[in-house]
């Protein structure tokens, strides 16, 4: 069976004056129709660069240096810029963290939401704005008829993000990439947007890649999850497996370091030592090994591959050798 989206050993490099950053290093992943895949990681882990690589929207000085990206069986690298433009407008939609900067302040929102329809569906102005009213209703913007003729500054952060989602959905894409869609929003507004994404996924079967640093958001939204660290996938599996029995020490440590709302007693948090990696000076061997409580000698020498461990995939010598992280918790 072909996957909706398939990445195979994708490498994306950023050329800096003082060296090359391997922002995305041999990332492979798949997304099936209707599925929600979470990509978690800290800033600099490569999660956003992975998304931008798929969209071919990479910032200057960065380029895809290797690997394949297939969408509905077609290799995106073979497409001309024009064909890619049409994929971005109709098949894959992307929404970003900051809905403040994603809308043009000088055009009415309805005009902007209707733009993909005018360009890719050849609708006339009137029809595109009528379609925008319908889309506003779908994404829960009240008073849609009046709202479409307003300007972005008249919208709150949550409403702007709904507007971006409406624009993304206008052409009925089969894949939505949401890059930290709720990070700039307040929690009650975050809950609204997440609920909207859930509904859209259920009602229209739009597959979603949800990129976030928030493990709670992944737990509530995603079927499967990929954990990234230093440009690599370090763990991949069903959300339940990864959260219940993480098989990479980074995932394991991260889950223990965050305070949980439902903790019954005050327990002191178990922080991860050290700092996130400096991408210009990565350590040899496993990239997490300098911060890892389980590291053995081999970890500093060789970098492990992403291999099957129990019901998921993990890039770790310790768990690949059959050791359980919970039994020798440090």
């Amino acid at each position: 069976m072909t996957h909706l989206l398939e990445l195979e050993n994708v490498q994306t490099h950023i050329a800096l004056k003082h060296g090359l950053i391997r922002a995305v290093d041999q990332v492979s992943l798949t997304v099936d129709a209707g599925e929600t895949l979470g990509i978690v990681g800290e800033s600099g882990s490569g999660k956003s660069m992975t998304a931008l690589s798929i969209m071919r929207l990479l910032p200057r000085a960065s380029r895809i240096a290797g690997g394949r990206i297939r969408f509905k069986g077609r290799d995106l690298a073979d497409l001309s810029e024009e064909e890619m433009e049409s994929i971005r407008g109709t098949e894959i939609a992307m929404i970003f963290q900051d809905p403040m900067t994603s809308l043009n302040p000088v055009y009415r929102v309805g005009w902007q939401v209707g733009e993909p329809l005018r360009i890719h569906r050849h609708m006339d102005k009137q029809a595109s704005i009528e379609a925008a009213v319908d889309l506003f209703k779908k994404v829960g913007i009240p008073d849609a008829k009046r709202r479409v003729s307003q300007f972005p500054h008249m919208f709150s952060g949550g409403m702007r993000q709904r507007t971006m989602i409406a624009m993304g959905l206008s052409t009925g894409p089969s894949l939505l990439i949401a890059d930290e869609p709720t990070t700039a929003l307040d929690v009650t507004i975050q809950a609204q947007i997440l609920e909207l994404l859930r509904t859209l996924n259920r009602d229209y079967g739009t597959a979603t890649i949800l990129i976030t640093h928030n493990l709670g958001v992944v737990a509530g939204m995603c079927d499967r999850v990929i954990v990234m660290y230093a440009g690599r996938v370090v763990e991949e599996g069903s959300t339940e497996d990864v959260f219940v029995h993480p098989e990479h020490p980074y995932t394991w440590s991260l889950l223990r370091s965050i305070p949980r709302l439902d903790a019954s007693e005050h327990e002191s948090l178990k922080p991860i030592v050290g700092s996130p990696p400096d991408m210009t000076q990565l350590p040899g061997g496993c990239k997490f090994q300098p911060r890892c409580p389980f590291a053995i000698e081999r970890c500093a020498a060789d970098e492990p591959e992403l291999r099957e461990v129990r019901s998921q995939l993990a890039r770790c010598w310790v768990t690949q050798a059959g050791q359980s992280l919970d039994s020798n918790a440090g």
Binding site: E42, S43, P142, S156, G158, M159, D186, V187, T188, I189, Q190, A191, Q192, L194, E195, H213, N214, L215, G216, V217, V218, A219, G220, T239, E240, F243, V244, S253, L254, L255, S257, I258, P259, R260, L261, D262, A263, H266, S268, L269, K270, P271, I272, V273, S275, P276, R291
Partner: protein, 342 residues
């Protein structure tokens, strides 16, 4: 002056069993100006009548969404903003009317840790200069040798190597910069620290280091914290008691554990239900309260209860008069709601 007399009188009566900080009817409004003549066309009621007592040695958590006034409240207590009305008492003494000299003495007792460790440190100063400035202003650790020793000691306290003293902020990661910010706050040996979103700008894997450091320093120096954050999981973890703010008002105050187990104000209830828990099995079963609409405006807040426009329990009465903060449960739990949750 009678005001001076009561200040003295209050101070004489204060004992450590009394609140360290008492906020009474505090209002901090900011004028909204518009037009060519900069006419004042309205007021942002950032803090709009808050009563709050913080006990010595406790961590009072302060949560709410952006624009609810939580940072302004913290800054007003430290007189970093000028309140429009009300009182702030520190050890029983009213501080809003204090003159420059008395205020400078008081500044040694109170400190602040800011959210953004990138913006709150002067990029042209070395760590030594940043920490030394606080010492010099208050004439602490006089003499070059004692000054250097004190700076080394402060770096020890926050878990940084002593030889970092000569470096500049840009040479450090976010977590390390926040440690410098904490060292600067500790330099004056304060009793009270306002922590204004101290971890929100940090990477997830670094946050726990800073939370643990703050807890450890509190034990070591018997510090009192006002911990401001929008993340209720962090606030619940670190706080003894929590105050929830909505559009300039405190709507609920309770011991941290009770607030989670038995929220009384519908806003607190929906805030708690909106916070994702990193447990997929739990998330799937969870019942969510999804609020309608956006946070009300603090320029033109709704009549009566300010939350009523989004509230799922609102009745006509809620629009008429504002519910006062009243005891809802035995043991230290107050909420401002006519129809509190079960």
């Amino acid at each position: 002056m009678p005001a001076e007399a009561t200040q003295r009188g209050d101070r004489a009566r204060w004992t450590p069993a009394d609140p360290l900080i008492e906020v009474r009817g505090l209002k901090t409004w900011f004028p909204v100006r518009s037009g060519v003549v900069n006419r004042v066309v309205g007021q942002v009621r950032a803090v709009d009548g808050v009563d709050l007592a913080i006990r010595q040695g406790e961590t009072m958590g302060l949560v709410g969404e952006s624009g609810c006034g939580k940072s302004t409240l913290g800054r007003s207590i430290l007189r970093l903003e000028r309140p429009s009305a009300g009182e702030v008492l520190f050890k029983g003494r009213s501080i809003l009317g204090l003159g420059t000299r008395s205020m400078r003495r008081l500044r040694r007792e109170m400190a602040i840790i800011f959210q953004d460790p990138f913006a709150s440190l002067d990029p042209r100063q070395t760590v030594e200069q940043i920490l030394g400035e606080a010492l010099d202003i208050h004439h602490l650790a006089r003499g070059r040798k004692r000054r250097r020793e004190r700076i080394a000691e402060l770096l020890d306290l926050v878990g940084m190597a002593r030889d970092f003293a000569g470096r500049y902020p840009h040479e450090f990661s976010g977590g390390q910069r926040q440690r410098i910010g904490i060292a600067r706050a500790l330099a004056v040996e304060p009793t009270f620290i306002v922590c204004d979103e101290p971890i929100s700008a940090l990477d997830v894997s670094i946050q726990a280091q800073i939370i643990n450091l703050l807890e450890q320093l509190q034990d070591q120096f018997h510090l009192t914290y006002l911990f401001i954050a929008h993340d209720l999981s962090v606030v619940k973890h670190i706080s003894d008691r929590i105050a929830v703010m909505y559009v300039g008002k405190v709507v609920e105050i309770s011991p941290a554990r009770d607030l989670y187990l038995e929220p009384k104000h519908p806003y607190t209830g929906s805030l708690l239900s909106a916070i994702p828990i990193p447990d997929p099995r739990l998330e799937r079963r969870r019942e969510r309260i999804i609020l309608q609409g956006d946070v009300a405006s603090s320029i033109d807040p709704p009549s009566g209860c300010r939350f009523r426009t989004r509230c799922f329990k609102a009745q006509p009465r809620c629009a008429e008069t504002e519910p006062p903060l009243t005891e809802v449960n035995l043991g230290d739990h107050q909420a401002a709601c006519y129809y509190p949750l079960g």
